[in-house]
């Protein structure tokens, strides 16, 4: 049986002291993938030979004395991140044969730092979904229970880390697409502040909300990945050139004395599973034991985040996805004599049902007569939600809440009911509307399924979130990997 990969921090130590090589780790990763992925379904593309070549190159750099946080580490990218010369599908039939002529900035930064790309990860089509069931190619199965979803839309990214197939992965988070699957799969997931990580080469879903971020086994691992991918980029004018702090150095202090943790009552929604609620309460008590103080806070407009999001995100998506017309790249329908007919047929056949639903919803919300009632009203409500966060984060340092109302649900359980599916993002969406950073840390198993605590912070406060998450991890211990759970007293 193939052995799951160690954490990034462990790999780093073994690589830097010559106890293992990138080639060994990459071979181990490829063995894990070969053994597990026919069941898990996390990968859409595997680039075996390129990965082995990159591992050899990384080993040469290591031998020459070079060190970077990710040098020689086998990893994989969500298939909405453009990779030069490597098929990038966005989980859609529309792009099933698309081989990009350029690299996303994050792929380029990881490559330059010597990370080893194993392949591209399954996701909901164009990152639209909460269960990964909207992939045009295949579903992903949760490594903890194969009858359950991994969450979405970065389901492949979370499952690959949980299954030990990749040391870390990148995902994208528009309404919770890193954090909710991190919670469902028992891994760490970070959505950085809007503007912290370049989105150049991220296939756009909703441009005022999208952020790229890491999924890892531990907070220290996330800190290392963040130190490579964060920072300004002239090719993304919404990226910030503000200095990137020392995320790894920030982890040194593991006591939380003086940290004020706000608990927003609106996030404990009705319909939340009692087991999830209890697990979150336990994690909050642990923060208190570490020296933090807990404070009840209120974000009164948070309950309106879900409806606001389901106007704003589809509206932006309807504009972003207008580019898929079968002219410059991607699928083109065979039928139709005039250009307009070809457009409509191409889009009708190339997009899956959830993507079509959101394009329709967004187009409707932006259309004449409805713009004020829907789009403008949603953007005003967004202002109120941002103000809620601003007020709360003046009295406390961070907010702590559940990541999702439930643990991973069963495949097929919600796929027929869009509104029920959307509800699984109810705890993650508010943060995207505010543009603030969030970190999900696995904190417990409930009926053998992981639950993640969601920490939310001030703009550019990633280091503080990682420090608190790391402290929690150190004191309560990791939940382990599926089938290899650590018994906790």
């Amino acid at each position: 049986m193939a052995t799951p990969l160690p954490t990034l921090t462990e790999c780093r130590q073994m690589l830097d002291t010559g106890k293992t090589s990138s080639l060994e780790l990459t071979t181990q990763a490829l063995e894990c993938i070969a053994e597990l992925d026919s069941t898990i379904g996390a990968f859409l593309t595997i680039i075996r030979d390129q990965a082995l070549a990159a591992a050899r190159a990384a080993d040469a750099r290591l031998v020459a004395g070079e060190r970077t946080p990710v040098l020689g580490i086998p990893m994989a990218l969500k298939d909405v991140l453009i990779t030069k010369g490597i098929t990038t599908t966005a989980g859609s039939k529309m792009l099933m044969n698309y081989v990009p002529p350029f690299n996303s900035t994050v792929a380029e930064r990881l490559e330059r730092a010597g990370a080893v790309l194993l392949g591209k990860l399954n996701c909901d089509e164009f990152a639209m979904g909460s269960s990964n069931e909207n992939s045009a190619f295949k579903p992903v199965h949760n490594p903890w229970d194969h009858t359950r979803v991994p969450g979405g839309s970065s389901g492949g990214s979370a499952a690959a880390v949980a299954a030990g197939e990749a040391v870390f992965t990148l995902g994208s988070d528009t309404g919770g697409s890193i954090r909710q699957p991190a919670s469902f799969c028992g891994v760490v997931g970070m959505k950085p502040t809007y503007g912290r990580v370049s989105r150049f080469g991220l296939i756009a879903f909703a441009s005022s909300l999208d952020q790229v971020g890491p999924l890892t086994r531990t907070c220290a691992d996330a800190a290392r990945v963040m130190s490579v991918i964060a920072g300004g980029d002239p090719r993304d004018s919404t990226s910030s050139s503000r200095e990137v702090p020392d995320y790894v150095g920030a982890l040194k202090s593991t006591h939380l004395d003086g940290i004020r943790v706000g608990i927003p009552k609106e996030f404990f929604v009705s319909g939340m599973e009692p087991g999830v609620q209890a697990a979150i309460q336990d994690a909050l008590c642990e923060l208190e034991r570490l020296g933090a103080t807990l404070h009840d806070v209120s974000l009164p407009y948070a309950p309106y985040a879900l409806p606001a999001y389901y106007i704003i995100a589809p509206a932006e998506a309807s504009a972003n996805l207008a580019r898929f017309d079968g002219v410059k790249y991607g699928y083109r329908a065979a039928e139709g004599d005039a250009m307009w007919d070809v457009y409509a047929a191409t889009r009708g056949q190339g997009f899956g049902s959830e993507v079509k639903r959101r394009i329709m919803l967004g187009t409707y919300a932006l259309s004449a007569g409805y713009y004020d009632a829907y789009y403008l009203q949603a953007q005003k409500v967004r202002t109120l939600i941002r103000k809620d966060y601003e007020d709360a984060l003046q009295t406390v340092d961070v907010l702590a809440a559940p990541t999702a109302p439930t643990t991973a649900f069963r495949l097929g359980e919600k796929s027929g009911d869009p509104v029920a599916m959307y509800f699984s993002d109810v705890c993650t969406i508010p943060l995207n509307l505010a543009g603030l950073p969030g970190l999900v840390v696995p904190c417990a198993l409930v009926d053998h399924l992981p639950v993640g605590l969601q920490l939310m912070g001030r703009a550019w406060g990633e280091a503080e979130l990682l420090r608190i998450g790391h402290a929690l991890e150190q004191s309560s211990g990791a939940i382990g990997l599926p089938g290899r759970q650590i018994q906790r007293g």
Partner: protein, 97 residues
């Protein structure tokens, strides 16, 4: 605000989506239930609130007007469903008359 089949067809035309009759019916049903949920937004008094344009303190981002290397034409056209030399080839845009 009840959606009608005509509205669904009009919106599908605006976003150039060819829907089957079955999809139209499903869209009518599902969009109606999503809008029912979204309509809660109307409860919020926003008379004194400005809409969010961006979560960042965004300023105009400028750069020197200098030419930089761009992708080779062949690399860009490699993914085109149809091409003619250095051009993207499409179906007729204008009628003959």
């Amino acid at each position: 605000m009840q959606l009608t089949r005509e509205t669904v067809q009009h919106v599908a035309m605006l976003c150039r989506l060819a829907l089957t009759a079955e999809e139209e019916q499903q869209m009518l049903h599902q969009l109606s239930s999503i809008l029912e949920h979204v309509n809660r937004l109307a409860e919020v008094d926003t008379s004194a609130v400005s809409p969010t344009a961006s979560v960042l303190d965004l300023y105009n981002v400028e750069r020197p007007d200098a030419a930089e290397p761009s992708l080779p034409v062949d690399a860009v056209l490699a993914n085109a469903p149809d091409r003619s030399g250095n051009l993207f080839r499409v179906r007729a845009i204008l009628d003959e008359e």
